[in-house]
């Protein structure tokens, strides 16, 4: 019996290692593979009256997905994702540099601090941003108190608020690969640069930065790609003027009651994400 199971699961490894993998595999299969598979199947179905699903299959949903009226959403999504990536890089690189080279004893504490927003519910985080950014919120009150403003500015429901929320959430995605890459730069190589006459800035520019480029690329990709699917930030901080691809999809499910179309859009987004990551892996190996 054990032998048969072993063969089924791939033969050469002992049964014990398959059993060790079982909880994780079952988790992935039931909570990821099966739902994703169901979604893809649903994407070919038709939408019936009041949103009931009619199991007749065709490519009509995918055809609709390429309707030019969705182009503004696509552009907006790419623009926000690109802007988030750039801001995260500009903020994240110095942060990663500090963590690697200057933080010393505080390194682990700072890393934990970086991850904390990640662990707490992002809903809670975004609602707190509303309190900070609102017209009667902390930011406006402080700016008026210190005389920078005479009247409160509406920070909420603007691209600024959306960008803030996105950067807040995705910063760890950028910093961690950067940190890992910078950490791998051998200190002796940097010392060699000093030794040969390179000042601090020259050594950074000519040695540290080029050697950290893999981390920069990884950080950008790991930020850009998930950011494409984001919808919660806009939902709470942005308002419908700036709805992104993620919102388009969630609307199909929650509002338009057109689950098959929503599934088709999701499948396309998934294909894009997986494709992008696959391309990145190919590039990395080269």
């Amino acid at each position: 019996m054990g032998k048969a199971l072993s063969w089924l699961l791939g033969g050469r490894k002992p049964l014990a290692s398959h059993l060790l993998l079982a909880p994780a595999s079952l988790w992935l299969i039931f909570l990821l593979v099966i739902p994703a598979g169901g979604l893809i199947v649903l994407s070919f179905a038709k939408n019936g009256p009041y949103g009931a699903i009619v199991w007749e299959f065709g490519l009509h949903n995918y055809a609709r997905a390429f309707d030019p009226k969705y182009l503004p959403v696509l552009f907006r999504t790419f623009a926000f994702a690109a802007a988030t990536t750039v801001v995260c890089l500009v903020l994240g690189y110095p942060l990663a540099y500090y963590l690697t080279f200057r933080a010393g004893r505080w390194r682990n504490a700072l890393l934990v601090g970086l991850m904390v927003p990640f662990w707490s519910s992002c809903l809670v985080a975004y609602y707190s941003w509303m309190i900070v950014l609102g017209k009667e919120g902390l930011l406006n009150t402080a700016l008026i108190r210190f005389g920078f403003l005479s009247e409160p500015i509406g920070f909420l429901y603007t691209p600024f608020a959306i960008l803030l929320g996105l950067v807040y959430f995705y910063l760890p995605f950028t910093v961690l690969p950067l940190y890992a890459s910078l950490d791998k730069v051998p200190r002796s190589v940097i010392e060699a640069a000093y030794d040969l006459g390179a000042g601090r800035w020259t050594a950074f520019w000519k040695v540290t930065l080029p050697l950290s480029l893999p981390g920069v690329v990884a950080g950008c990709i790991l930020t850009f790609i998930p950011c494409l699917g984001d919808f919660l930030t806009v939902e709470i901080l942005g308002g419908p003027r700036y709805y992104l691809l993620g919102n388009l999809i969630s609307n199909q499910f929650m509002m338009a009651q057109d689950w098959p179309f929503g599934s088709a859009l999701t499948s396309l987004l998934l294909a894009g994400l997986v494709g992008g990551l696959w391309l990145y892996q190919r590039w990395e190996k080269a």
Binding site: S188, V189, A192, D195, L196, G197, G199, T202, L211
Partner: protein
């Protein structure tokens, strides 16, 4: 016992001078009051076991560490507070530290570009440097595709291409195999002679130090125990540490019985009375004091028959063990009845003395009184 050689005031021939340099990390003092002078064009080796402060001293010379006390002078100018990138000192790192994203040529050209040497000059000097390390034609090779020995040479070429005043080498041959290491030692020596640059070489391998150096500074626990030529260090060790570290020695305990000008009467290990000559500048601690005494293994001669040449000190001994090493034999003798565990090591050439296979054979050990060195006070 003489104090270690110091150079508190730099002599005109000195090129690099450390005076009273010390460095601590927290409660741990790594370098203690080190004073050293390196002449232009010499190879000085800093020799010592792991953790003795030699790498830290080198890093202080390079400018990567700032000493807590003392000054560093290069060609008369005080460079203690000058950062590494402004010092005319280049380092060959232990693990090469080559720039992985640059080609061999760019690695070598790096320092020159920092010094704003014109490009056509660089184009000339890079192949020159490669030729000096016997790597001609490697200009466009990538670092990842090279062997350890090749990378070592590139690191060397990179450091000398800029014609620094002093070259620091931090155990550069440590990662190479024995044969390659011996080849490189001779190559390095030849290279230095041709370039005329002062080399400061750090190693824990005493054989390497003896092969390469003009002078050796022996470090122990952050202090210099002795500075001298290889011959001086070997023949006239000042402390038991130096005696044992270089060449290995038999270190014994002895009591001073009485002294006369130029000679000392000692009781070796509470058993044997010796009468040994003193060196010109050697002074004897008072009567009754205990001292450490060293005898080099190769100076202990083993005889199977009582046919001693005249003038040697004679010991009755029992042969306990022999180790055949190919070009020599290590012989373990039991010379002291009061301390039978205290074995004496003697070296013998391949065929000079017949080696018996029997153990516990009574033999006669003999030592020339000249070969008995009195070291420091025995406080243990």
């Amino acid at each position: 016992m003489d104090p270690p050689e110091s150079a508190a005031s730099p002599a005109p021939a000195d090129y690099l001078c450390l005076s009273g340099v010390s460095k601590s990390y927290g409660p741990l003092t790594v370098v203690r009051d080190v004073s050293l002078a390196v002449a232009r064009g010499e190879i000085l080796t800093i020799l010592g076991p792991s953790g003795c402060g030699k790498t830290t001293t080198l890093r202080i010379i390079a400018g990567f560490e700032s000493p807590d006390g003392g000054r560093v002078r290069l060609s008369g100018a005080d460079v203690t507070d000058t950062p590494a990138y402004d010092r005319d000192v280049h380092t060959v790192f232990q693990h090469y530290a080559l720039f992985p994203h640059l080609s061999v040529a760019d690695n070598i050209a790096f320092g020159m570009r920092m010094d704003k040497v014109p490009e056509d000059e660089i184009k000339k000097r890079v192949p020159e440097a490669l030729a000096m390390v016997k790597l001609s034609g490697f200009e466009s090779r990538r670092i990842q595709s090279m062997s350890g020995g090749q990378m070592q040479r590139v690191a060397l070429a990179r450091a000398i291409a800029g014609r620094p005043a002093v070259l620091l080498l931090d155990e550069p041959l440590g990662a190479l195999d024995l044969k390659l290491r011996k080849e490189m030692q001779l190559e390095l020596k030849g290279l230095q002679r041709r370039l005329g640059i002062a080399f400061i070489y750090v190693t824990h391998d005493q054989e390497e130090a003896m092969t390469m150096s003009d002078r050796i500074a022996v470090f122990n626990h952050g202090r210099i125990e002795q500075v001298g030529t290889p011959g001086e260090i070997y023949e006239m060790p000042k402390t038991s540490f130096v005696a044992d570290f270089i060449g290995g020695a038999n270190i014994f305990s002895a009591k001073v019985l009485r002294g006369e000008p130029g000679r000392a009467h000692l009781l070796l290990e509470d058993e044997h009375e010796l009468n040994v000559p003193l060196d010109a500048n050697e002074s004897l601690p008072g009567i009754g004091a205990r001292v450490k005494v060293a005898i080099r293994p190769e100076r202990v001669k083993v005889f199977y028959k009582d046919e001693l040449p005249f003038g040697l000190i004679r010991f009755d001994a029992i042969l306990k063990d022999t180790v055949f090493l190919g070009d020599a034999c290590q012989i373990y003798l039991q010379m002291f009845k009061k301390n039978p565990e205290r074995l004496t090591i003697a070296w013998a050439g391949g065929d000079r003395y017949a080696v018996h296979d029997d153990m516990d054979v009574p033999v006669i050990a003999a030592v020339d009184p000249e070969d008995v060195y009195i070291l420091e006070r025995d406080n243990g």
